[in-house]
Symmetry: C4
Subunit: 265 residues, 4 copies
């Protein structure tokens, strides 16, 4: 009763056993690295405060571009390997095995369907980002580590096409509308709700979501001081490339894993 | 001397022994789950910074609607099962066994008396919420996770009916006046003091108190940027229903328990 | 080398041994409780972020009103029983035993000399309080838990009487000037430097310093929202009495000790 | 798999073994203290949030003023003794042994070349400091503990001489341009990027970087309240001397080491 419950983590053998479930046999040979990194991604995003009780992160199946992996309905801080479920690009579970899926899995499905260059999607409600979804104040990169969020970050309002809702992205049509607003950009804000960040890999999507929040926090502090000078379009493009070079990407992935207490995968 | 004092938590057997005290026999059969969750609620609210040294949370007795449970006078971070005391709806202790009650237990008593739909009450002084009690700036839900706080949050000022006081709600009359201002809403602010949040269950009251603070913090950051767009009344109603669906409620309860290091009860 | 250094704390027996040093024999019989609480006070203030590398807290000797106890020059987070030194009301060490005293011990000496009602003094640089020392914005209690800071908090500027200095209170004359500005109040701010808070006991001085910071933080957030309504003078007086009642004082002392991992003493 | 990876720290013997690598024999006799302190400096800066995934700290070789030590490309939170590499004042590695160097090591090289009085350099992106790099709002010391940052803090913009870049200081020419803007000051801000802080010792550079952030945070909170009164030039000079006296410097070094869980070296 109120006994301390420490984070239980699947050891190597148990994890493989989990993978040995029939529906996972196909994925077992080459997918594990992606799935292990997906677990790490969940823990990192929770540890950095990018997600709280809510929010989720997915990865496209490296062997089947029409599928993606996402946790069952569970807070990212708690996600383990056998919570991961596979979905198609309409958001239907391939083999649910009784597990309940996130209601908003269609955000991921619709973005993967629209963007073949995207291999990972983060959806979150980072507190520092939320003010930019409700004030009309644009969120633009002002520091080089945040160049990866991109020069343009559109704001999507579910009400525009769907009227008064419970604010959640529940149907594939809503997901497609969000993906259309995201267009070719890296991040999209959602009015009174949160954001989505995409990347060509789990590491990129995770770092983009983290530095979207960092940039938002810097901007929140800078705006009362004067008019912040944003990076130029060329600086953003060049800096984003540098931030996603192995030199910078490996260093930051190792760092965020260590802080979250997870193996880099 | 200055030796480390680690959180001591009642184990299962000791907890049952505590329950075996004469006055608890009646409650022992079906109440324990509520009481275990009440201990968890105390720890969660402390861990999330919703309460500090002060603040408290109660639950209506599931077997006797004229009674409610609340800790003895102790900071929520430290509350254990045998700190819980039972009170009637005037705030009188049923069986104090020498324990000292919170001075402000009448907040709970008066709200339970006025609102048969309420089964749990949180009273707190969350720092982010306090600015809204002293500036006339209304606290309205601007993000969907906070829709549960409700469309209208009145502000109560003890001075209006009781003049200069020590700011504490000490008499049942003061409690009733607060409950009258709360009326049919979910939250009420108290000028220069704090807030009360109510719910149909412990989980709902706790999550409402947490997201009242989250919403306040988002609003504090958004206000210097422009005029924040609030959720519409219909969005609030629909979203609150979604946030209190088992899908969302179970996920967040598990999450906040894990962060606080307590068993979900 | 970069090996983890965990907080080493004097156990009971070793602590008594430390007290058995000749100069401490007199104090040993009735002072220990005050000294143990002084160690706890150091740790609490560090844990709550009221002090960082700098800042200090003292207690008047309960057996000799012309003496007070204060740590040797050491950050409060690290203070142990045998760091405590005794001083007279000019700031001279009674028995230094080779230990180096804080340069600003005269703050304590001068306040004890001027205020026979004061039995404990905290000097600190809490970050939330500092803006009020340099902007002319008055720091007034706006929430009831902070009523203990008092209705009037003067600001002292060392430059007024002593010209350009290193900003430190180094001479007993400077200490007396500060004490004169404090006058009969509970807190005094120091321009570009920090604050001092006094109390009739260690517990009161510590809680006053903590809630001075809480109130400053609430005010920093409230000021951009509108004109915060302060507590009235009568509300401050009545509420301060309630906050220092055993019901509230014991509860918060137990809480802050638990958070700091120290025995309540 | 997602198993907890605890900070692995080199024990004394293993550390010496690392030093026994051929290229380190010369340094082994008198350099170790500096190198141990350099590891501690990395951990302290990470623990205080002055650096995150990015940022670095170096020390000039005490036996050869034309050389300096800096970690291989790794986040400061993770740096161990055998990550340290030696460089010349053009930024070329003396004996890389397969290790990858930070891209921005030329910041350090150029400053050591330009400033014989500097023995340690910190480069970082502290979030509180960043708003001052993009708004034109000057960062001036307003509290005495931050006097060490100096009266004048210039802002360098890489675009002025190098046009659109990836914002990183990659060439020795860029490093020299930054060093020229730093001139004889202690800190320099970099537009949309971060800052560099220098010192006559590791301890001084580290404390300067920490209090640069503290001062920035105080100023961010003070600016909305009114016009903050800065310390006068004479107060800054006198106070900086006091803050770097052994009394203050040793106390704060011990404190920051304890917080970071590292041996003071």
């Amino acid at each position: 009763m109120t006994g301390c419950t420490r984070r239980r983590v699947l050891g190597g053998a148990a994890a493989l056993a989990a993978f040995a479930a029939p529906s996972l046999v196909r994925a077992q040979r080459d997918a594990p690295r992606e799935l292990r990194r997906l677990v790490a991604a969940n823990r990192i995003l929770a540890n950095e405060g990018v997600v709280d009780a809510f929010g989720h992160v997915s990865v496209r199946d490296p062997r089947n571009a029409q599928r993606f992996w996402l946790s069952r309905s569970r807070s990212p801080a708690l996600v383990e390997l056998n919570d991961l479920m596979e979905f198609d690009l309409e958001g239907a579970a391939i083999d649910a095995r009784g597990r309940t899926a996130y209601g908003e899995r269609v955000i991921h499905a619709a973005i993967y369907a629209a963007r073949s260059d995207v291999h990972s999607v983060v959806h979150n409600h980072a507190y520092g980002v939320l003010p930019f979804t409700i004030t009309g104040q644009p969120l633009r990169p002002v520091v080089h580590t945040a160049s990866v969020i991109g020069a343009v970050i559109p704001v999507w309002d579910i009400r525009t096409r769907f009227g008064a809702t419970d604010m959640l992205v529940r149907s594939i049509e809503q997901g497609r509308d969000l993906a259309a607003t995201l267009a070719g950009n890296t991040c999209v804000l959602m009015r009174g709700h949160g954001a989505a960040a995409v990347g060509a890999s789990i590491e990129r999507a995770v770092l983009t979501a983290i530095y979207l929040q960092v940039n938002a926090n810097v901007l929140l502090q800078a705006l009362p001081l004067g008019t912040p000078e944003a990076l130029s379009a060329e600086e953003i493009a060049r800096s984003a490339e540098a931030q996603f070079s192995p030199l910078a990407l490996d260093r930051s992935w190792e760092y965020f894993c260590q802080r979250a207490g997870v193996d880099p995968g």
